[in-house]
Amino acid sequence: MSGEGGVATSVADPVEVEDVPRRLTARHSLQDRLFVHGVRVTGLFVLVIVSSIGLFLGLQARPTFSHYGWSFFTESRWLPSQDIVGISAVLLGTLQVAAIALIIAFPLSLLTALFVTDWAPARMKNSLVRAIDLMAAVPGIVFGLWVLLFIQPHATHVAHFLSKYLGWIPIFKVHTDVDYPIWNQAPGYPAYQGSAFIAAIAVSMMIFPMATSVMREVFSEAPAGEKEAAIALGATRWSMVRTVVIPFGRSGIVGGTMLALGRALGETISVVLIISQTFQLKVNPLESGTSTISSMIAIGYKEATPAQLSALLTAGFLLFVITLVTNTIAAQIVARGRSGAGTEL
């Protein structure tokens, strides 16, 4: 500063410059500390609320498990008044309804997702996506009413047809005289009404939008470069979809289906409206009478004594564990697939 001599020495002799890093103080203001702590406390509060439900259900389930032991899983009858409680039939019914709903909804969702991403004209795409979202918001009870009033009369015909011509396959068998004309039976075709098959139709309407939107999202991330390459090589639209979009979106297909399965297992109200409840270990989904865990809770809670309530809670806990496992696996599969987006050209 005083003259050029001083500057020269400081350039020539770098040792004299003290190169101490500036001290960074990460001290937040009071406002920020309050904010972070407040948010953390709220987050942990939510954690406590949410996990207390799981803990509560688990604790309530313990006496039932210790009282009935393994017979809780193998017994098919549900007679709490006689101290006979088992959920094998209910569990089988739950899985049957969910499986049939998936069989109906899976091809529809897959094809609809493909239609939205690769077939629909560009100006239709947004309104289609919106329509699927809107369908997801339709209350389950409305689909239940629709199936009850409008679909059941047709579905019983289909069930009758299947059991008549394919009855030699065990799952299509209905324990009634299939040659007896359906219009001649007692009002409401009792042998075919209220079956797992018809309940599954309502459930499939519930899970369709969820599966479709997951699949559509993954399909729409398929690399445009590879799609154009396939077209440029002379592929038809279907060949392009088969070789590029579907292999790319496999994680979305599997993950979306499993998410839908989780929803199907817990669906209550449309099933309650449709089925006629029986506790019977059987694999005839076309035959009247089945039961699912959620419908059993909705129907049975009212007359429940404390012991029966504990048994219902155990069933609810089991349902929760099943959906939890399904959803976790589904989320893992979808998340793993997302990392494949790096293949973009």
Binding site: V39, G43, V46, I49, W119, L134, H157, V272, S294, F320
Partner: protein
């Protein structure tokens, strides 16, 4: 379809190269056609004729089979057979003139178009059936302004209504939203903005709890509050059940939205000297606002339509009750359920009319969500 005229492209390219080499010596003798873009989705007359012919032929065949030859009947069977025969004919006609890949493409297109058509028809049919069945009750003004107190299920539609159910739904959902929305959004802010090991744990648990079936949430409130603590069935219990069900859903949805806010915006905010609260309040939340609003409104729409927790917790009243803490409180889904389960034809029709109102409320919420989402995000 796209493989048809692919050989045009290299030919045109070669011709262009030849011309450039030759035009120094002499002008080209043959005029070169202009480079028109190849129509990718063009449909030739043959394609249209094939499609229409397959349609008519399959319709005729199916009609013949159904009315003249086979001893079968039924509308579903007719439509299914018609579709199957159509696909068969369409594939056969295409195979006469086109290569195998085009046949496969057309068969696939048939199915890909049929699936959304089927679902759309089902959705439309759901709405029409519900509205049509409820219409006799819907046209009476008293359906919206009175409750069912002193009205027998078999009474004509000119007396009684669902005011108590509408009010009950609004009160219950309002309480549930007042509990679940602030907690859910704050938890999402904690998960995505504060971070750390605790936040990751909270996220894992909340993601797990979105799997909680709604009936189990209802059963939890029923056994913990109503049986355990001896509280009466009330609107508050129902609202708590809805909140328990909705809290993980809302937290998860908000977390997903907050996570896609670009990190650069946060860093820019910190670089300008803003604190954490300021960054969240003035940068992150305004940026995420449209997405957040959509996610939350769709969560609310799901709460409005949820029935199973209400069956267990609220009790069904027939009178207007605006006090959520005492006395049972009815709600739309519960009213519908009880009406249909009653088996009384007139009361069932009231149930369908109430379902129409419920659909309308959900639709209004949905349209509102779209309007909020359309607003330009603050930058």
């Amino acid at each position: 379809m796209t493989a048809v005229s692919a050989d045009n492209l290299p030919a045109g390219g070669l011709r262009a190269v030849e011309r450039r080499a030759d035009d120094v010596v002499q002008p080209p003798a043959v005029p070169v056609p202009a480079d028109l873009p190849r129509p990718v989705t063009g449909r030739t007359r043959e394609d249209t004729i094939t499609l229409v012919a397959a349609g008519f032929a399959s319709l005729a065949t199916t009609w013949l089979l159904y009315t003249q030859i086979l001893p079968v009947e039924g509308k579903i069977g007719f439509v299914v057979s018609w579709f199957a025969v159509f696909v068969l004919y369409y594939a056969g006609l295409t195979a006469l003139t086109r290569p195998w890949t085009v046949v496969a493409d057309r068969v696939a297109t048939c199915f890909v178009v049929a699936a959304p058509t089927l679902v759309g028809a089902a959705l439309l049919c759901t709405v029409i059936v519900t509205v049509a069945k409820g219409l006799p009750a819907l046209v009476h003004w008293n359906f919206y302004t009175t409750d069912m107190a002193g009205v027998r299920p078999s009474d004509p539609f000119s007396s009684g209504g669902i005011l108590h159910a509408i009010v009950g739904t609004l009160i219950e959902v309002a309480i549930a939203v007042a509990i679940a929305l602030p907690l859910g959004v704050t938890a999402a802010v904690y998960m995505s903005e504060v971070g750390g090991r605790g936040a990751r744990f909270v996220r894992t648990i909340i993601e797990a709890m979105t799997a909680l079936p709604s009936i189990v949430a209802g059963l939890f409130i029923y056994s913990a509050l109503i049986v355990g603590l001896g509280l009466p069935s009330s609107g508050l219990a129902a609202a708590l059940a809805l909140a328990v069900m909705g809290l993980p859903i809302m937290a998860r949805a908000s977390d997903v939205v907050l996570r896609v806010v670009p990190g650069g915006l946060r860093e820019a905010s910190y670089a300008l000297g803003a604190g954490r609260l300021q960054t969240v309040w003035k940068v992150v939340l305004p940026t995420a606002r449209p997405g957040l609003a959509t996610a939350l409104i769709l969560g609310i729409a799901r709460m409005v339509g949820e029935t199973s927790p209400l069956i267990l917790t609220s009790g069904a009243s027939t009178f207007l009750n605006t006090d959520p803490t005492t006395n049972p409180m009815n709600s739309l889904p519960l009213f519908i359920y009880n009406a249909v389960a009653s088996g009384q034809p007139a009361f069932e029709q009231r149930g369908y009319a109430a379902a129409t109102v419920l659909l309308l409320i959900v639709l209004i919420l949905f349209v509102f969500a779209r309007l909020v989402a359309r607003r330009r995000p603050v930058r």
